[in-house]
Amino acid sequence: MTAVVTPGAPPTAPGGPAERPPRRRLTPYWLLLPAGLWLAVFFVAPLIYQASTSVQTGSLEEGYRVTWHFATYWDVLDKYGEHFLRSFGYAAAATVLCLLIGYPLAYMIAFRAGRWRNVLLVMVIAPFFTSFLIRTLAWKTILSDGGPVVGALEALHILDVTSWLGLTSDERVLATPLAVVCGLTYNFLPFMILPLYSSLERIEPSLHEAARDLYATPATTFRKVTFPLSLPGVVAGTLLTFIPASGDYINAQLLGSPNTQMVGNAIQKQFLNVLDYPTAAAMSFVLMALILIAVTLYMRRAGTEELV
Protein backbone atom coordinates (compact mmCIF):
# COMPACT_ATOMS: atom_id res chain seq x y z
CA MET A 1 0.00 0.00 0.00
CA THR A 2 2.99 2.29 0.23
CA ALA A 3 2.82 3.03 -3.47
CA VAL A 4 -0.75 4.20 -2.92
CA VAL A 5 0.32 6.50 -0.17
CA THR A 6 2.95 8.41 -2.13
CA PRO A 7 0.59 10.90 -3.82
CA GLY A 8 -0.09 12.39 -0.44
CA ALA A 9 3.54 13.41 -0.32
CA PRO A 10 4.49 15.64 -3.21
CA PRO A 11 8.18 16.41 -3.56
CA THR A 12 9.71 18.58 -0.91
CA ALA A 13 11.39 20.66 -3.57
CA PRO A 14 9.42 23.80 -4.44
CA GLY A 15 9.76 23.05 -8.14
CA GLY A 16 7.01 21.80 -10.45
CA PRO A 17 6.20 18.27 -11.54
CA ALA A 18 9.10 18.22 -13.96
CA GLU A 19 11.47 17.91 -11.05
CA ARG A 20 9.79 14.83 -9.63
CA PRO A 21 12.07 11.83 -9.30
CA PRO A 22 11.49 9.36 -12.13
CA ARG A 23 10.08 6.69 -9.82
CA ARG A 24 7.05 8.91 -9.26
CA ARG A 25 6.25 9.18 -12.93
CA LEU A 26 4.57 5.80 -12.78
CA THR A 27 2.57 6.48 -9.62
CA PRO A 28 -0.43 8.11 -11.33
CA TYR A 29 -0.68 5.19 -13.72
CA TRP A 30 -0.69 2.70 -10.84
CA LEU A 31 -3.37 4.72 -9.11
CA LEU A 32 -5.48 4.85 -12.24
CA LEU A 33 -5.01 1.19 -13.08
CA PRO A 34 -7.97 -0.43 -11.26
CA ALA A 35 -10.54 2.17 -12.29
CA GLY A 36 -9.11 2.47 -15.79
CA LEU A 37 -9.06 -1.26 -16.33
CA TRP A 38 -12.60 -1.60 -15.05
CA LEU A 39 -13.86 1.10 -17.40
CA ALA A 40 -11.86 -0.27 -20.32
CA VAL A 41 -13.17 -3.81 -19.89
CA PHE A 42 -16.75 -3.09 -18.86
CA PHE A 43 -17.43 0.20 -20.61
CA VAL A 44 -15.22 0.69 -23.67
CA ALA A 45 -14.94 -2.95 -24.75
CA PRO A 46 -18.73 -3.46 -24.66
CA LEU A 47 -19.23 -0.37 -26.81
CA ILE A 48 -16.76 -1.68 -29.40
CA TYR A 49 -18.35 -5.07 -29.20
CA GLN A 50 -21.76 -3.55 -29.69
CA ALA A 51 -20.54 -1.79 -32.81
CA SER A 52 -19.68 -5.16 -34.27
CA THR A 53 -22.98 -6.64 -33.09
CA SER A 54 -24.89 -3.99 -34.99
CA VAL A 55 -23.53 -5.29 -38.31
CA GLN A 56 -24.04 -8.97 -37.51
CA THR A 57 -26.72 -11.29 -38.78
CA GLY A 58 -27.89 -14.60 -37.47
CA SER A 59 -30.06 -15.88 -34.70
CA LEU A 60 -29.71 -16.76 -31.07
CA GLU A 61 -29.76 -20.49 -31.82
CA GLU A 62 -27.26 -20.51 -34.69
CA GLY A 63 -25.08 -17.74 -33.37
CA TYR A 64 -24.27 -14.35 -34.85
CA ARG A 65 -21.61 -13.61 -37.43
CA VAL A 66 -20.25 -10.29 -38.62
CA THR A 67 -21.60 -9.94 -42.15
CA TRP A 68 -21.30 -6.14 -42.41
CA HIS A 69 -25.05 -6.04 -42.67
CA PHE A 70 -25.48 -2.25 -42.61
CA ALA A 71 -29.10 -2.61 -43.69
CA THR A 72 -30.02 -2.96 -40.01
CA TYR A 73 -29.24 0.74 -39.63
CA TRP A 74 -31.58 1.69 -42.45
CA ASP A 75 -34.29 -0.53 -41.04
CA VAL A 76 -33.88 1.08 -37.66
CA LEU A 77 -34.08 4.61 -39.04
CA ASP A 78 -37.02 3.64 -41.21
CA LYS A 79 -39.00 1.82 -38.55
CA TYR A 80 -38.11 3.83 -35.47
CA GLY A 81 -37.65 7.32 -36.88
CA GLU A 82 -40.74 8.39 -35.01
CA HIS A 83 -39.32 7.06 -31.75
CA PHE A 84 -36.13 9.03 -32.27
CA LEU A 85 -38.02 12.22 -33.01
CA ARG A 86 -40.23 11.73 -29.98
CA SER A 87 -37.24 11.02 -27.73
CA PHE A 88 -35.43 14.18 -28.73
CA GLY A 89 -38.61 16.25 -28.62
CA TYR A 90 -39.58 15.09 -25.13
CA ALA A 91 -35.99 15.37 -23.87
CA ALA A 92 -35.65 18.90 -25.26
CA ALA A 93 -38.98 19.95 -23.73
CA ALA A 94 -38.00 18.45 -20.38
CA THR A 95 -34.60 20.18 -20.51
CA VAL A 96 -36.14 23.59 -21.17
CA LEU A 97 -38.66 23.05 -18.36
CA CYS A 98 -35.89 21.89 -16.02
CA LEU A 99 -33.94 25.06 -16.77
CA LEU A 100 -36.99 27.28 -16.19
CA ILE A 101 -37.98 25.50 -12.98
CA GLY A 102 -34.48 24.79 -11.72
CA TYR A 103 -32.86 28.19 -12.21
CA PRO A 104 -34.95 30.08 -9.61
CA LEU A 105 -34.43 27.29 -7.10
CA ALA A 106 -30.67 27.18 -7.68
CA TYR A 107 -30.57 31.00 -7.46
CA MET A 108 -32.57 30.96 -4.27
CA ILE A 109 -30.27 28.40 -2.65
CA ALA A 110 -27.15 30.25 -3.77
CA PHE A 111 -28.13 33.82 -2.84
CA ARG A 112 -31.25 33.91 -0.68
CA ALA A 113 -31.09 30.86 1.54
CA GLY A 114 -28.63 32.11 4.16
CA ARG A 115 -28.17 29.51 6.84
CA TRP A 116 -30.89 27.34 5.27
CA ARG A 117 -28.65 26.67 2.31
CA ASN A 118 -27.55 23.19 3.37
CA VAL A 119 -31.06 22.18 4.37
CA LEU A 120 -32.39 23.24 0.97
CA LEU A 121 -29.60 21.36 -0.81
CA VAL A 122 -30.51 18.25 1.17
CA MET A 123 -34.13 18.73 0.12
CA VAL A 124 -33.05 18.85 -3.52
CA ILE A 125 -31.00 15.67 -3.22
CA ALA A 126 -33.32 13.88 -0.81
CA PRO A 127 -35.76 12.60 -3.46
CA PHE A 128 -32.75 10.83 -4.97
CA PHE A 129 -32.78 8.47 -2.03
CA THR A 130 -36.32 7.19 -2.41
CA SER A 131 -36.58 4.80 -5.30
CA PHE A 132 -37.32 6.98 -8.30
CA LEU A 133 -39.60 4.26 -9.68
CA ILE A 134 -41.83 4.65 -6.63
CA ARG A 135 -41.83 8.42 -7.07
CA THR A 136 -42.63 8.11 -10.76
CA LEU A 137 -45.53 5.84 -9.86
CA ALA A 138 -46.70 8.54 -7.45
CA TRP A 139 -47.16 10.80 -10.48
CA LYS A 140 -49.82 8.34 -11.63
CA THR A 141 -51.79 9.30 -8.56
CA ILE A 142 -51.09 13.02 -8.92
CA LEU A 143 -52.04 13.19 -12.59
CA SER A 144 -54.91 10.71 -12.39
CA ASP A 145 -58.10 11.39 -14.32
CA GLY A 146 -60.42 13.50 -12.21
CA GLY A 147 -57.58 14.30 -9.82
CA PRO A 148 -56.77 17.80 -8.58
CA VAL A 149 -54.15 18.55 -11.25
CA VAL A 150 -56.41 17.59 -14.13
CA GLY A 151 -59.26 19.52 -12.51
CA ALA A 152 -57.16 22.65 -12.07
CA LEU A 153 -55.78 22.48 -15.62
CA GLU A 154 -59.28 22.06 -16.93
CA ALA A 155 -60.63 24.96 -14.90
CA LEU A 156 -57.84 27.19 -16.17
CA HIS A 157 -58.53 25.99 -19.74
CA ILE A 158 -54.91 24.91 -20.04
CA LEU A 159 -55.99 21.45 -21.13
CA ASP A 160 -57.71 23.02 -24.15
CA VAL A 161 -54.42 24.61 -25.18
CA THR A 162 -52.36 21.47 -24.60
CA SER A 163 -54.92 19.36 -26.45
CA TRP A 164 -54.74 21.77 -29.35
CA LEU A 165 -50.94 21.42 -29.27
CA GLY A 166 -51.32 17.64 -29.28
CA LEU A 167 -49.80 17.26 -25.82
CA THR A 168 -52.95 15.92 -24.22
CA SER A 169 -56.13 14.30 -25.42
CA ASP A 170 -59.59 13.44 -24.13
CA GLU A 171 -59.46 15.71 -21.08
CA ARG A 172 -56.79 13.61 -19.42
CA VAL A 173 -53.11 14.01 -18.65
CA LEU A 174 -52.05 10.46 -17.86
CA ALA A 175 -50.98 8.44 -20.90
CA THR A 176 -50.28 11.62 -22.89
CA PRO A 177 -47.03 13.30 -23.95
CA LEU A 178 -47.62 15.94 -21.27
CA ALA A 179 -47.42 13.29 -18.54
CA VAL A 180 -44.19 11.87 -19.99
CA VAL A 181 -42.57 15.30 -20.22
CA CYS A 182 -43.74 16.08 -16.69
CA GLY A 183 -42.17 12.86 -15.41
CA LEU A 184 -38.93 13.46 -17.30
CA THR A 185 -38.73 17.02 -15.99
CA TYR A 186 -39.32 15.82 -12.47
CA ASN A 187 -36.82 12.97 -12.61
CA PHE A 188 -33.95 14.99 -14.09
CA LEU A 189 -34.52 18.29 -12.27
CA PRO A 190 -31.80 17.66 -9.64
CA PHE A 191 -29.30 17.08 -12.48
CA MET A 192 -30.06 20.63 -13.62
CA ILE A 193 -30.18 22.27 -10.20
CA LEU A 194 -26.88 20.99 -8.84
CA PRO A 195 -24.56 22.25 -11.63
CA LEU A 196 -26.52 25.52 -11.77
CA TYR A 197 -26.10 25.93 -8.03
CA SER A 198 -22.39 25.17 -8.09
CA SER A 199 -21.73 27.77 -10.79
CA LEU A 200 -23.98 30.38 -9.15
CA GLU A 201 -22.37 29.78 -5.78
CA ARG A 202 -18.96 30.68 -7.22
CA ILE A 203 -20.08 34.17 -8.23
CA GLU A 204 -18.50 36.81 -6.01
CA PRO A 205 -21.15 38.87 -4.17
CA SER A 206 -18.95 41.90 -4.76
CA LEU A 207 -19.76 41.65 -8.47
CA HIS A 208 -23.43 42.16 -7.65
CA GLU A 209 -22.54 45.09 -5.45
CA ALA A 210 -20.41 46.56 -8.20
CA ALA A 211 -23.28 46.23 -10.67
CA ARG A 212 -25.60 47.92 -8.22
CA ASP A 213 -23.14 50.73 -7.62
CA LEU A 214 -23.03 51.26 -11.35
CA TYR A 215 -26.81 51.83 -11.31
CA ALA A 216 -27.79 48.50 -12.79
CA THR A 217 -31.33 47.40 -11.97
CA PRO A 218 -31.76 43.88 -10.58
CA ALA A 219 -32.90 42.74 -14.03
CA THR A 220 -29.86 44.22 -15.74
CA THR A 221 -27.57 42.76 -13.09
CA PHE A 222 -29.06 39.35 -13.78
CA ARG A 223 -28.85 39.74 -17.56
CA LYS A 224 -25.34 41.18 -17.70
CA VAL A 225 -23.60 39.64 -14.67
CA THR A 226 -25.32 36.67 -13.04
CA PHE A 227 -26.59 34.80 -16.05
CA PRO A 228 -23.39 35.00 -18.15
CA LEU A 229 -21.35 33.84 -15.17
CA SER A 230 -23.69 30.91 -14.61
CA LEU A 231 -23.42 29.74 -18.23
CA PRO A 232 -21.05 26.83 -17.45
CA GLY A 233 -23.70 25.56 -15.06
CA VAL A 234 -26.43 26.05 -17.67
CA VAL A 235 -24.43 24.10 -20.25
CA ALA A 236 -23.53 21.29 -17.83
CA GLY A 237 -27.10 21.14 -16.52
CA THR A 238 -28.73 21.01 -19.95
CA LEU A 239 -26.38 18.22 -21.03
CA LEU A 240 -26.86 16.26 -17.81
CA THR A 241 -30.62 16.54 -18.33
CA PHE A 242 -30.96 16.14 -22.07
CA ILE A 243 -28.68 13.15 -22.60
CA PRO A 244 -30.13 10.79 -20.01
CA ALA A 245 -33.67 12.01 -20.73
CA SER A 246 -33.38 11.15 -24.42
CA GLY A 247 -32.48 7.56 -23.56
CA ASP A 248 -35.00 7.09 -20.78
CA TYR A 249 -37.81 4.59 -21.11
CA ILE A 250 -39.21 4.51 -17.60
CA ASN A 251 -41.32 7.66 -17.77
CA ALA A 252 -42.69 6.79 -21.18
CA GLN A 253 -43.57 3.34 -19.94
CA LEU A 254 -45.14 4.25 -16.60
CA LEU A 255 -46.80 7.57 -17.44
CA GLY A 256 -47.30 7.32 -21.18
CA SER A 257 -49.12 5.13 -23.65
CA PRO A 258 -48.06 3.07 -26.67
CA ASN A 259 -48.23 6.35 -28.59
CA THR A 260 -45.57 7.99 -26.44
CA GLN A 261 -42.86 5.32 -26.70
CA MET A 262 -39.31 6.61 -26.89
CA VAL A 263 -36.16 5.01 -28.32
CA GLY A 264 -35.34 3.58 -24.91
CA ASN A 265 -38.59 1.62 -24.96
CA ALA A 266 -37.77 0.26 -28.40
CA ILE A 267 -34.22 -0.76 -27.40
CA GLN A 268 -35.47 -2.39 -24.24
CA LYS A 269 -38.12 -4.31 -26.17
CA GLN A 270 -35.69 -5.48 -28.85
CA PHE A 271 -33.11 -6.53 -26.28
CA LEU A 272 -35.25 -8.13 -23.58
CA ASN A 273 -38.38 -9.35 -25.38
CA VAL A 274 -37.66 -9.79 -29.08
CA LEU A 275 -34.03 -10.81 -28.42
CA ASP A 276 -32.96 -9.11 -31.65
CA TYR A 277 -29.54 -7.96 -30.49
CA PRO A 278 -28.26 -6.48 -33.77
CA THR A 279 -31.30 -4.20 -33.99
CA ALA A 280 -30.93 -3.15 -30.35
CA ALA A 281 -27.24 -2.46 -30.95
CA ALA A 282 -27.89 -0.45 -34.10
CA MET A 283 -30.54 1.61 -32.31
CA SER A 284 -28.16 2.32 -29.43
CA PHE A 285 -25.54 3.46 -31.89
CA VAL A 286 -27.88 5.72 -33.81
CA LEU A 287 -29.06 7.21 -30.52
CA MET A 288 -25.47 7.79 -29.44
CA ALA A 289 -24.48 9.29 -32.78
CA LEU A 290 -27.45 11.66 -32.84
CA ILE A 291 -26.76 12.78 -29.28
CA LEU A 292 -23.11 13.32 -30.16
CA ILE A 293 -24.07 15.50 -33.12
CA ALA A 294 -26.61 17.46 -31.07
CA VAL A 295 -24.17 17.97 -28.22
CA THR A 296 -21.36 19.06 -30.54
CA LEU A 297 -23.58 21.61 -32.25
CA TYR A 298 -24.86 22.85 -28.91
CA MET A 299 -21.38 23.12 -27.41
CA ARG A 300 -20.16 25.05 -30.43
CA ARG A 301 -23.02 27.50 -29.99
CA ALA A 302 -22.75 27.68 -26.21
CA GLY A 303 -19.01 28.11 -26.58
CA THR A 304 -18.02 26.38 -23.37
CA GLU A 305 -15.13 24.04 -23.95
CA GLU A 306 -14.32 22.86 -20.47
CA LEU A 307 -17.02 20.86 -18.79
CA VAL A 308 -15.69 18.96 -15.85
Binding site: P7, A9, Y29, T53, P104, V119, F129, Q268
Partner: protein, 296 residues
Protein backbone atom coordinates in the same frame (compact mmCIF):
# COMPACT_ATOMS: atom_id res chain seq x y z
CA UNK B 1 -30.13 42.13 1.62
CA UNK B 2 -28.09 43.93 4.23
CA UNK B 3 -25.00 44.38 2.14
CA UNK B 4 -22.95 47.47 2.97
CA UNK B 5 -23.06 49.86 0.09
CA UNK B 6 -20.35 52.42 -0.39
CA UNK B 7 -22.61 54.83 -2.29
CA UNK B 8 -24.27 57.53 -0.19
CA UNK B 9 -28.00 56.94 0.26
CA UNK B 10 -30.18 59.17 -1.87
CA UNK B 11 -32.50 61.55 -0.15
CA UNK B 12 -35.97 60.31 0.65
CA UNK B 13 -35.46 56.77 -0.61
CA UNK B 14 -36.23 54.00 1.88
CA UNK B 15 -33.14 51.95 2.67
CA UNK B 16 -35.10 48.73 2.19
CA UNK B 17 -35.04 49.12 -1.58
CA UNK B 18 -31.40 49.73 -2.41
CA UNK B 19 -31.24 48.61 -6.07
CA UNK B 20 -33.64 51.16 -7.57
CA UNK B 21 -32.45 53.86 -5.20
CA UNK B 22 -30.89 56.30 -7.58
CA UNK B 23 -31.91 54.76 -10.89
CA UNK B 24 -32.23 57.48 -13.51
CA UNK B 25 -35.77 56.77 -14.69
CA UNK B 26 -37.78 55.55 -11.79
CA UNK B 27 -41.12 53.94 -12.78
CA UNK B 28 -44.34 54.81 -11.00
CA UNK B 29 -44.71 52.93 -7.70
CA UNK B 30 -46.51 49.61 -8.07
CA UNK B 31 -49.32 48.42 -5.81
CA UNK B 32 -48.05 46.75 -2.64
CA UNK B 33 -48.96 43.11 -3.45
CA UNK B 34 -47.33 43.35 -6.86
CA UNK B 35 -44.20 44.89 -5.32
CA UNK B 36 -44.07 42.10 -2.73
CA UNK B 37 -44.50 39.50 -5.45
CA UNK B 38 -41.74 41.06 -7.52
CA UNK B 39 -39.38 41.40 -4.61
CA UNK B 40 -39.79 37.77 -3.64
CA UNK B 41 -40.28 36.37 -7.13
CA UNK B 42 -37.16 34.22 -6.88
CA UNK B 43 -38.13 32.79 -3.51
CA UNK B 44 -41.69 32.10 -4.69
CA UNK B 45 -40.54 30.39 -7.89
CA UNK B 46 -37.85 28.48 -6.01
CA UNK B 47 -40.29 27.27 -3.38
CA UNK B 48 -42.70 26.13 -6.10
CA UNK B 49 -39.85 24.18 -7.71
CA UNK B 50 -39.01 22.62 -4.37
CA UNK B 51 -42.66 21.69 -4.00
CA UNK B 52 -42.57 20.04 -7.43
CA UNK B 53 -39.59 17.99 -6.22
CA UNK B 54 -41.17 16.97 -2.94
CA UNK B 55 -44.85 16.46 -3.79
CA UNK B 56 -44.33 12.86 -5.02
CA UNK B 57 -42.58 12.03 -1.75
CA UNK B 58 -45.59 13.35 0.15
CA UNK B 59 -47.90 11.30 -2.04
CA UNK B 60 -45.78 8.21 -1.40
CA UNK B 61 -45.98 8.92 2.35
CA UNK B 62 -49.75 9.50 2.25
CA UNK B 63 -50.47 6.40 0.22
CA UNK B 64 -48.40 4.23 2.53
CA UNK B 65 -51.36 4.63 4.90
CA UNK B 66 -53.92 3.69 2.28
CA UNK B 67 -56.15 0.65 2.24
CA UNK B 68 -56.47 0.03 -1.49
CA UNK B 69 -59.47 -1.75 -2.91
CA UNK B 70 -57.89 -3.45 -5.91
CA UNK B 71 -54.38 -4.55 -6.78
CA UNK B 72 -53.21 -1.01 -7.47
CA UNK B 73 -52.53 1.68 -4.93
CA UNK B 74 -53.32 4.75 -7.01
CA UNK B 75 -56.61 5.83 -5.45
CA UNK B 76 -57.25 6.84 -1.89
CA UNK B 77 -59.75 4.57 -0.12
CA UNK B 78 -59.30 4.47 3.64
CA UNK B 79 -56.71 5.10 6.31
CA UNK B 80 -54.86 2.05 7.52
CA UNK B 81 -51.54 1.23 9.14
CA UNK B 82 -51.60 -2.38 7.95
CA UNK B 83 -48.66 -1.94 5.60
CA UNK B 84 -46.51 -0.28 8.26
CA UNK B 85 -47.10 -3.04 10.81
CA UNK B 86 -46.41 -5.71 8.22
CA UNK B 87 -43.78 -4.27 5.85
CA UNK B 88 -42.49 -7.64 4.64
CA UNK B 89 -45.94 -9.09 4.11
CA UNK B 90 -45.49 -9.11 0.34
CA UNK B 91 -43.85 -12.13 -1.21
CA UNK B 92 -40.31 -11.50 -2.54
CA UNK B 93 -40.26 -7.80 -1.70
CA UNK B 94 -37.96 -7.85 1.30
CA UNK B 95 -35.75 -10.41 -0.41
CA UNK B 96 -35.29 -7.99 -3.30
CA UNK B 97 -34.58 -5.24 -0.80
CA UNK B 98 -31.74 -7.18 0.86
CA UNK B 99 -30.35 -8.07 -2.56
CA UNK B 100 -30.33 -4.39 -3.52
CA UNK B 101 -28.67 -3.46 -0.24
CA UNK B 102 -25.96 -6.10 -0.67
CA UNK B 103 -25.24 -4.99 -4.22
CA UNK B 104 -25.24 -1.32 -3.23
CA UNK B 105 -22.81 -1.89 -0.33
CA UNK B 106 -20.39 -3.92 -2.45
CA UNK B 107 -20.65 -1.56 -5.43
CA UNK B 108 -20.05 1.42 -3.13
CA UNK B 109 -16.94 -0.17 -1.62
CA UNK B 110 -15.54 -1.11 -5.03
CA UNK B 111 -16.32 2.18 -6.70
CA UNK B 112 -15.12 4.27 -3.75
CA UNK B 113 -11.76 2.50 -3.41
CA UNK B 114 -10.99 2.44 -7.13
CA UNK B 115 -12.45 5.88 -7.67
CA UNK B 116 -10.52 7.53 -4.83
CA UNK B 117 -7.22 6.15 -6.13
CA UNK B 118 -7.99 7.44 -9.61
CA UNK B 119 -9.14 10.81 -8.26
CA UNK B 120 -5.82 11.31 -6.49
CA UNK B 121 -3.96 10.45 -9.67
CA UNK B 122 -5.96 13.01 -11.64
CA UNK B 123 -5.90 15.74 -8.99
CA UNK B 124 -2.30 15.49 -7.89
CA UNK B 125 -0.24 14.40 -10.89
CA UNK B 126 0.47 15.62 -14.32
CA UNK B 127 0.97 12.83 -16.81
CA UNK B 128 0.58 12.14 -20.46
CA UNK B 129 -2.58 10.04 -20.41
CA UNK B 130 -4.46 12.53 -18.26
CA UNK B 131 -6.66 13.88 -21.05
CA UNK B 132 -7.63 10.38 -22.15
CA UNK B 133 -8.32 9.37 -18.55
CA UNK B 134 -10.53 12.41 -17.99
CA UNK B 135 -12.50 11.66 -21.14
CA UNK B 136 -12.87 8.01 -20.16
CA UNK B 137 -14.29 9.05 -16.81
CA UNK B 138 -16.60 11.68 -18.25
CA UNK B 139 -18.13 9.45 -20.92
CA UNK B 140 -20.13 7.05 -18.71
CA UNK B 141 -21.85 10.03 -17.10
CA UNK B 142 -22.58 11.62 -20.46
CA UNK B 143 -24.10 8.57 -22.09
CA UNK B 144 -27.70 7.43 -21.97
CA UNK B 145 -28.00 4.52 -19.60
CA UNK B 146 -29.75 2.30 -22.15
CA UNK B 147 -26.73 2.43 -24.43
CA UNK B 148 -24.36 1.36 -21.65
CA UNK B 149 -26.83 -1.21 -20.40
CA UNK B 150 -27.42 -2.77 -23.81
CA UNK B 151 -23.74 -2.87 -24.75
CA UNK B 152 -22.61 -4.47 -21.49
CA UNK B 153 -25.50 -6.91 -21.73
CA UNK B 154 -24.53 -7.83 -25.28
CA UNK B 155 -20.95 -8.47 -24.16
CA UNK B 156 -21.98 -10.70 -21.24
CA UNK B 157 -24.40 -12.54 -23.48
CA UNK B 158 -21.77 -13.34 -26.06
CA UNK B 159 -19.12 -14.24 -23.52
CA UNK B 160 -21.70 -16.69 -22.21
CA UNK B 161 -21.43 -15.19 -18.73
CA UNK B 162 -24.31 -16.23 -16.52
CA UNK B 163 -26.44 -13.18 -15.66
CA UNK B 164 -26.96 -12.60 -11.98
CA UNK B 165 -25.41 -11.07 -8.89
CA UNK B 166 -21.90 -10.75 -10.34
CA UNK B 167 -22.96 -9.13 -13.60
CA UNK B 168 -25.11 -6.60 -11.74
CA UNK B 169 -22.23 -5.80 -9.38
CA UNK B 170 -19.77 -5.37 -12.25
CA UNK B 171 -22.17 -3.02 -14.03
CA UNK B 172 -22.89 -1.00 -10.90
CA UNK B 173 -19.21 -0.48 -10.05
CA UNK B 174 -18.70 0.58 -13.67
CA UNK B 175 -21.22 3.40 -13.67
CA UNK B 176 -20.60 4.51 -10.06
CA UNK B 177 -16.84 4.94 -10.64
CA UNK B 178 -17.14 8.19 -12.57
CA UNK B 179 -19.31 9.83 -9.95
CA UNK B 180 -16.91 8.92 -7.14
CA UNK B 181 -13.92 10.17 -9.14
CA UNK B 182 -15.59 13.51 -9.88
CA UNK B 183 -16.65 14.02 -6.25
CA UNK B 184 -13.26 13.10 -4.75
CA UNK B 185 -11.30 14.95 -7.43
CA UNK B 186 -13.19 18.18 -6.75
CA UNK B 187 -12.42 17.90 -3.06
CA UNK B 188 -8.74 17.00 -3.49
CA UNK B 189 -8.20 19.85 -5.95
CA UNK B 190 -9.66 22.36 -3.51
CA UNK B 191 -7.41 21.17 -0.69
CA UNK B 192 -4.58 23.49 0.30
CA UNK B 193 -1.28 21.72 -0.54
CA UNK B 194 0.44 23.88 2.07
CA UNK B 195 -1.18 21.85 4.84
CA UNK B 196 0.63 18.75 3.64
CA UNK B 197 3.84 20.71 3.21
CA UNK B 198 3.45 21.88 6.78
CA UNK B 199 3.02 18.29 7.95
CA UNK B 200 6.21 17.35 6.16
CA UNK B 201 8.05 20.30 7.59
CA UNK B 202 7.07 18.99 11.00
CA UNK B 203 8.84 15.74 10.12
CA UNK B 204 5.77 13.65 9.36
CA UNK B 205 6.59 10.74 7.08
CA UNK B 206 4.65 10.17 3.85
CA UNK B 207 2.41 7.57 5.48
CA UNK B 208 1.76 9.76 8.48
CA UNK B 209 1.06 12.80 6.29
CA UNK B 210 -1.37 10.82 4.20
CA UNK B 211 -3.24 9.25 7.11
CA UNK B 212 -3.30 12.26 9.44
CA UNK B 213 -3.60 15.15 6.99
CA UNK B 214 -4.50 14.17 3.43
CA UNK B 215 -7.12 11.53 4.14
CA UNK B 216 -9.08 13.53 6.76
CA UNK B 217 -9.06 16.52 4.42
CA UNK B 218 -10.32 14.42 1.51
CA UNK B 219 -12.85 12.54 3.66
CA UNK B 220 -15.90 14.74 2.88
CA UNK B 221 -15.34 14.21 -0.84
CA UNK B 222 -14.87 10.49 -0.39
CA UNK B 223 -18.01 10.33 1.78
CA UNK B 224 -19.99 12.27 -0.81
CA UNK B 225 -18.79 9.94 -3.55
CA UNK B 226 -19.63 6.87 -1.49
CA UNK B 227 -23.08 8.18 -0.57
CA UNK B 228 -23.78 9.06 -4.18
CA UNK B 229 -22.71 5.68 -5.50
CA UNK B 230 -24.76 3.91 -2.83
CA UNK B 231 -27.84 5.87 -3.82
CA UNK B 232 -27.19 5.39 -7.54
CA UNK B 233 -26.57 1.68 -7.21
CA UNK B 234 -29.51 1.07 -4.89
CA UNK B 235 -31.84 2.95 -7.18
CA UNK B 236 -30.56 1.86 -10.57
CA UNK B 237 -33.08 0.22 -12.79
CA UNK B 238 -32.09 0.51 -16.45
CA UNK B 239 -28.59 -0.99 -16.25
CA UNK B 240 -29.79 -3.61 -13.78
CA UNK B 241 -32.68 -4.70 -15.97
CA UNK B 242 -30.35 -5.38 -18.88
CA UNK B 243 -27.73 -7.19 -16.80
CA UNK B 244 -29.72 -9.18 -14.26
CA UNK B 245 -30.69 -12.79 -14.56
CA UNK B 246 -34.26 -14.00 -14.15
CA UNK B 247 -33.59 -15.05 -10.56
CA UNK B 248 -31.94 -11.85 -9.35
CA UNK B 249 -34.69 -9.31 -8.77
CA UNK B 250 -33.45 -6.11 -7.17
CA UNK B 251 -35.83 -3.76 -5.41
CA UNK B 252 -36.29 -1.38 -8.38
CA UNK B 253 -36.96 -4.42 -10.56
CA UNK B 254 -39.54 -5.62 -8.05
CA UNK B 255 -41.24 -2.21 -8.17
CA UNK B 256 -41.18 -2.28 -11.97
CA UNK B 257 -42.81 -5.69 -12.00
CA UNK B 258 -45.31 -4.58 -9.39
CA UNK B 259 -46.25 -1.57 -11.51
CA UNK B 260 -47.51 -4.01 -14.10
CA UNK B 261 -49.11 -6.62 -11.83
CA UNK B 262 -50.35 -4.42 -9.00
CA UNK B 263 -48.43 -2.37 -6.49
CA UNK B 264 -48.68 -3.40 -2.85
CA UNK B 265 -48.90 -0.61 -0.26
CA UNK B 266 -45.69 -1.93 1.29
CA UNK B 267 -43.78 -0.44 -1.65
CA UNK B 268 -44.82 3.00 -0.39
CA UNK B 269 -43.78 2.07 3.13
CA UNK B 270 -40.30 1.18 1.91
CA UNK B 271 -40.15 4.35 -0.20
CA UNK B 272 -41.09 6.50 2.77
CA UNK B 273 -38.70 4.70 5.12
CA UNK B 274 -35.84 5.13 2.64
CA UNK B 275 -36.58 8.84 2.36
CA UNK B 276 -36.71 9.36 6.12
CA UNK B 277 -33.56 7.34 6.80
CA UNK B 278 -31.61 9.08 4.04
CA UNK B 279 -32.64 12.56 5.17
CA UNK B 280 -31.79 11.66 8.76
CA UNK B 281 -28.33 10.40 7.76
CA UNK B 282 -27.59 13.51 5.72
CA UNK B 283 -28.88 15.87 8.42
CA UNK B 284 -26.85 14.12 11.15
CA UNK B 285 -23.80 14.35 8.92
CA UNK B 286 -24.41 18.06 8.36
CA UNK B 287 -24.92 18.71 12.07
CA UNK B 288 -21.77 16.89 13.14
CA UNK B 289 -19.80 18.68 10.42
CA UNK B 290 -21.17 22.01 11.65
CA UNK B 291 -20.36 21.22 15.27
CA UNK B 292 -16.84 20.13 14.39
CA UNK B 293 -16.32 23.29 12.39
CA UNK B 294 -17.53 25.41 15.30
CA UNK B 295 -15.41 23.63 17.90
CA UNK B 296 -12.23 24.24 15.91
Amino acid sequence: MSRPSPAPPAAGAPSSAPPARTAPRRPAPLPAPVRLLRKHAVVIAGSLALGYLLVPNLVVLLFSFNKPAGRFNYEWRAFSTDAWTNPCGVADMCGSLTLSLRIAVLATIGATVFGTLAAFALARFRFRAKGTANALIFLPMAMPEVVMAASLGTLFLNMRVAFGFTTILIAHIMFCLSFVIVAVKARVMSMDPRLEEAARDLYAGPVQTFLRVTLPLAAPGIAAGALLSFALSFDDFIITQFNAGPSTVTFPMFVWGAAQRGTPVQVNVIGTAMFVIAVAIVLVGQLTANRRRRSR
